[in-house]
Subunit: 343 residues, 2 copies
């Protein structure tokens, strides 16, 4: 059992309140006595009761994190960044996984608030289309930062990439290497980032005078390897002469490459593919995948930094102006796209 | 700011202690008053102060988890299993990453104990060769379960696979398909699982009368993709006629495949490779990787289940007998190994 203040007090024959004051660092304890108490506490392996410390300081030094999925190269990189930065500032991180479910996300937000975490970081589930549960967190005065998958409608700090711009760059690259008929495998209809990536794709086509054809846009639900294979087959069945695909995420793009390899459709000779995220896997698939690099570890660090600023401001009763951090992405050219056209 | 008991009491004109008793479910409150208090608390969005609840129940309903690395298919699967099972029982999970460092692991164990978590799950860092920090946790009466990377010397519950048996099966398979000169890329010298995998490899050679040659065993430090490439090149420089490799982990095996592809050494025609873990990536590399399937999600669930049993036993002051759970592995045959010999 943990050592109690009483046991320390009895051992050196002082009062419990003297021990308590000495351990809290109060001034009105004789320095010699204080020294003896600290030494004894250490010898007896005393650990402060964090619940009592929490009650006193009203801080838990713990934050909550909700991600849609943990077994995911991008999110695990973000988690790593968050934990690394939190640890630097003495914070612990409670992690929950929403499984892309609105109901679970809502329940988990309540759980974290009941736990009195000092702040919450969240990347929104694909299933979420109502956002009142986030408003409640803010009304409840709990600092909240959204990252990657955010809600435009909610007024809070956000750490994101410019999905529209990144998707525009990816599609523009396919046009530059000479693709004329470019399909898009997009994510589900709700998440802001899959909307933005679609809009970036569409804008690039418009800017380069390629007619937009809604039939070339496939809406994925699971955003999985299997869906990538399935829609790659469906695409070649339904359309002739598609020579480029911009895919919402690497995992799906790798599924598509695998299906094309099986069908003896040559990547990139017959069809060029650009993914999104730069998962490690993209370097080992054959051909290796041209993709947008999304800085997960950095996003995690930045998200914690912004949250920490809000927690500190709240503690000092200072007004906090919500921050919007937009991180840079870049196009990584590998072997799933044709060489650039010489002009 | 959160609603206080005082605000509820003032609103309906009862004493704070009556509100407190009603919310704790004590019997000595008038049922009508109790009903009104619960209704008002709900309307005012009252949330119990978890620090105070913790002080009362001496439970935090939180467990700690230390893993060597989060951006890792196997560990993220384990984490997912732990969180899923913990949530079922109303527990939250604080996650820390030791970065394979003994110093960090030690500090993090202290941090979690100071936080008064109800129990700790840990997979040991490669850098750890002293184990007193785990003894302290046990002496401190905090339930502790080790999983995957464990310390034989520490008496506590463990959830593992039989690494030696799995490595034996992998090596035996290479022998069965006709490999005569089989190398081993092993993990660092300290972790028990890399020792056991090495011993399984060696035992299989002995049982099938293939002379063991220590020069064919390469000790890796980072256990990375790059090390896989590096040692694959070194292996073909230093040895002729190696026709099989058993590799400690998939990431390294994929590095080796990549290097062989670059050197125009044919896998599996010239050299067969078996990995370990069954990362998703193993299915997309070309050729796809034959490997040992290590049940990460299940290991996470089992680890929490055992910890939960110990927490419950401790709460009831019952004696708890440490458990050792050994999960099954199996060999997944893909295209990085030659077809089995017809006899």
């Amino acid at each position: 059992m943990p050592t109690t203040l009483k046991e320390i007090a009895e051992k050196i024959n002082v009062s419990v309140s003297t021990v308590s004051k000495a351990l809290k660092g109060y001034a009105d304890v004789n320095p010699e006595t204080k020294k003896l108490i600290l030494k004894t506490a250490k010898e007896m392996n005393y650990k402060p009761n964090s619940f009592a410390v929490n009650l006193r300081t009203k801080e838990s030094k713990t934050i909550g994190l909700i991600v849609p999925e943990i077994v995911h190269h991008f999110f695990s990189s973000v988690i790593k960044g968050i934990i690394a930065q939190a640890e630097k500032k003495g914070y612990l991180v409670i992690i929950l996984q929403s499984n892309e479910s609105y109901e679970l996300e809502k329940k988990q937000l309540e759980l974290l608030q009941n736990k009195r975490v000092d702040g919450i970081l969240v990347s929104i589930a694909n299933g979420t289309s109502k956002f009142d549960h986030f408003k409640e967190v803010i009304d409840n005065d709990t600092p909240l930062v959204m990252f990657d998958k955010i809600a435009k409608i909610i007024d809070c700090s956000k750490v994101i990439i410019d999905d529209r711009k990144a998707a525009y760059e990816a599609t523009k690259y396919l046009i530059e290497i000479g693709c004329k008929k470019i399909a898009h495998f997009r994510g589900p209809l709700l998440p802001q980032n899959s909307i933005d990536r679609f809009l970036g794709y569409k804008k690039a086509l418009e800017d380069f005078n390629i007619p937009y054809d809604s039939k070339l846009v496939y809406v994925l639900n699971d955003v999985s390897f299997e869906e990538g294979k399935y829609y790659a087959k469906k695409l070649v069945e339904e359309h002739k002469n598609v020579d480029g695909i911009f895919v919402n995420t690497d995992l799906v793009a790798i599924g598509a490459i695998t299906a094309f390899n099986e069908m003896n459709i040559k990547v990139p000779e017959d069809i060029s593919i650009v993914g999104f995220s730069n998962w490690f896997m993209s370097t080992v698939v054959s051909p290796s995948l041209t993709t947008i690099n999304q800085p997960g570890f950095k996003m995690g660090k930045e998200a914690f930094k912004v949250l920490y600023k809000e927690i500190k401001a709240k503690k000092k009763n200072e007004k906090f102006r919500y921050k919007k951090v937009v991180l840079d992405t870049d196009l990584i050219v590998r072997n799933s796209t044709k060489p650039i056209l010489k002009s």
